[in-house]
């Protein structure tokens, strides 16, 4: 018996979707759900897991490492406004069509191109206490500024924030905002110029309001970056150190699970991280829907 045309299309669709959903179920949905169960177990990565009730959560909330990681994640979030402001501003400057702007755009894209792991290694070499960056500063007579960027517990998380949240993503952000700005009606600028508006006035009254949606989206992307995409960079840049000073929730999970082999405890952390990610994910979906409309 032949299936009706409509049923046939549905059957084919599910066949085409099957590989994707099989992989997602096995390697994403199942791991996310299993984490909740393992948060109530004691497991070292081998042998049989033992139920421990809420002990993992109790230990987590009283652990200084957890407080530091959560606080660090918060400190990194402070760099999101810096990222938004500097990216939009540089894109607005490049959009003026200066001579050679294409070259600047390409150069600023380099950190993105090399990827977080390589950038982490490169920047770690550059910022060593006796490294080239400090040599350069000392050579210019700026000895006061030649700090121990990666060796200081107070400084290091801010270095990570400035470099990863703002700097490494800058080139990508510029391309993103340049394309958003290319859609602005030139008549708006002409009208503003006729009114004698200064560059800053035009920036705040024309450019920024026209790319509000992109700014919102960039902010959500930045949240995703901070909560969910920093492991590679931190691993190759500071390995979480000195001490726990550049731990984030994500890095802490790695450390507990694969260095200390406390998988149950790490699952409790992962549960906390899950809720943050779920909130961001819902925000992202809402924004995507808004754009469709």
């Amino acid at each position: 018996m032949r299936l009706s045309y409509k049923n046939e299309e549905a059957r084919d669709s599910f066949l085409l979707l099957a590989p994707l959903f099989l992989l997602l179920a096995l390697f994403i949905a199942f791991p996310v759900l299993s984490n909740f169960r393992f948060a109530f177990l004691d497991w070292k990565g081998f042998g049989t897991p033992k139920p421990v009730g809420l002990a993992n959560f109790a230990a987590m909330f009283s652990s200084p490492m957890f407080r530091i990681s959560l606080l660090n994640t918060g400190k990194l979030l402070l760099y999101i406004p810096v990222s938004v402001a500097s990216t939009v501003l540089l894109a607005a400057l490049l959009r003026e069509g200066l001579r050679g702007w294409g070259i600047y755009r390409s150069i600023l894209y380099i950190p993105n191109l090399l990827g977080p792991v390589i950038m982490g290694v490169v920047l770690a070499i550059s910022l060593r206490d006796t490294g080239p960056f400090n040599s350069l500063l000392r050579g210019m007579g700026l000895d006061v500024l030649a700090l121990d960027w990666l060796g200081s517990e107070h400084l290091s998380i801010h270095v990570v924030g400035l470099l990863h949240v703002v700097w490494v993503r800058l080139g990508f952000g510029i391309i993103y905002f340049l394309s958003a700005m290319s859609a602005i009606d030139p008549a708006l600028y002409e009208a503003a110029l006729m009114d004698g508006a200064s560059w800053w006035k035009r920036f705040f009254n024309v450019t920024v309001p026209s790319v509000v949606f992109s700014i919102e989206f960039w902010t959500v992307l930045s949240f995703i970056e901070v909560f969910a995409r920093m492991f590679g960079f931190i691993f190759s840049f500071t390995k979480g150190g000195p001490g726990f000073s550049t731990f984030t929730l994500e890095y802490g999970i790695y450390y507990l699970a694969f260095v200390n082999m406390k998988m149950g405890m790490a699952s409790a952390w992962a549960t906390v991280l899950f809720f943050f990610c779920a909130i961001i994910s819902v925000a992202q979906l809402r924004l995507m829907k808004k754009r469709e409309e």
Binding site: L16, L24, V122, L170, F231, G232, F258
Partner: protein, 275 residues
């Protein structure tokens, strides 16, 4: 007139400073990789006085970097094939076919896009060890495809949604099956986007860290990115050796960029909605 001149000068100064910050680490990387370890101690920033390829020899011969490139050369093309096949077929289904529960299924794909690798890592590790996938390339391939596919599916879906319906309908009337419509008509139509997908895929897989770190425990199976990350910790490597390794590892992404510059920036744009 004079004012505009000053503004321009400020703009150039800001841009030049930013570009300097982007280029300086690269400059330092290249010159350091050409210095001997003793020279680097006295001459950290300047050009090499007695350039040597010793660090490259060390990384390639003693560090086995060539082997890691071969690993990438095996893993990434295979990973790409799986990735493209999955994203193309799912994107076509979401973008052009009608079936029940389409929206909830699509939203669930988007929802799963954001979770960080570390959140999944423990259970993936458990799964991989119970399925016998530890230390196997098949394990890495499956996990990579699963992790990168939601985003690829998203961009293919938006692309296929913009393809005119008539293309599908007229083929249907000619009696073509769904699969031949995909392989004979839609895949060729989508080839520019598939090109972008290939670049996104290569970049993601070339730089992927935590999963390869957890699955490939055997030192000889490492990918280039993993080898670089491990080099730094394992031997307390000196700057010239480390720089040489990083220069070698950067050649491929930079070459890709120079050849496909336009596609890459387009890909990043498509990627602007990624999770």
């Amino acid at each position: 007139m004079k004012r505009a001149g000053i503004t321009n000068r400020i703009i150039y100064a800001v841009l030049s400073l930013a570009s300097f910050a982007a280029l300086f680490p690269l400059y330092h990387l290249v010159v350091t990789s050409l210095k001997s370890k003793t020279e680097y101690l006295d001459n950290t920033v300047g050009l090499p006085i007695a350039p040597t390829l010793e660090s490259f020899r060390f990384i390639i011969v003693d560090g086995g970097m060539l082997g890691f490139f071969v690993n990438n050369l095996v893993l990434i093309p295979l990973g790409l094939c799986a990735y493209i096949a999955v994203c193309l077929s799912a994107g076509f289904a979401f973008g052009k076919l009608r079936f029940p529960f389409k929206l909830p299924l699509f939203l669930s794909v988007l929802f799963l896009m954001i979770f960080p690798q570390m959140l999944l890592a423990m259970q993936i590790f458990r799964l991989a060890s119970s399925l016998g996938l530890l230390d196997s390339y098949l394990g890495v391939l499956l996990v990579w495809t699963a992790y990168f596919a939601p985003f690829g599916t998203y961009i293919m879906t938006t692309y296929f949604a913009s393809v005119p319906f008539e293309l599908v309908e007229s083929a249907r009337i000619d009696g073509a099956s769904t699969f031949s419509i995909l392989t004979r008509i839609m895949a060729p139509v989508a080839s520019p986007m598939v090109g972008t997908l290939v670049i996104i895929g290569v970049q993601s897989m070339w730089n992927e860290l935590p999963f390869s770190l957890l699955i490939l425990r055997d030192g000889t199976k490492r990918t280039v990115a993993l080898a670089i990350a491990m080099l730094k910790g394992e031997y307390g490597l000196r700057a010239p050796d480390l720089s040489a390794a990083v220069v070698l590892a950067s050649i491929v992404p930079i070459a890709l960029f120079l050849v496909f510059q336009k596609k890459i920036t387009l890909g990043t744009l498509a990627g602007s909605v990624k999770g």
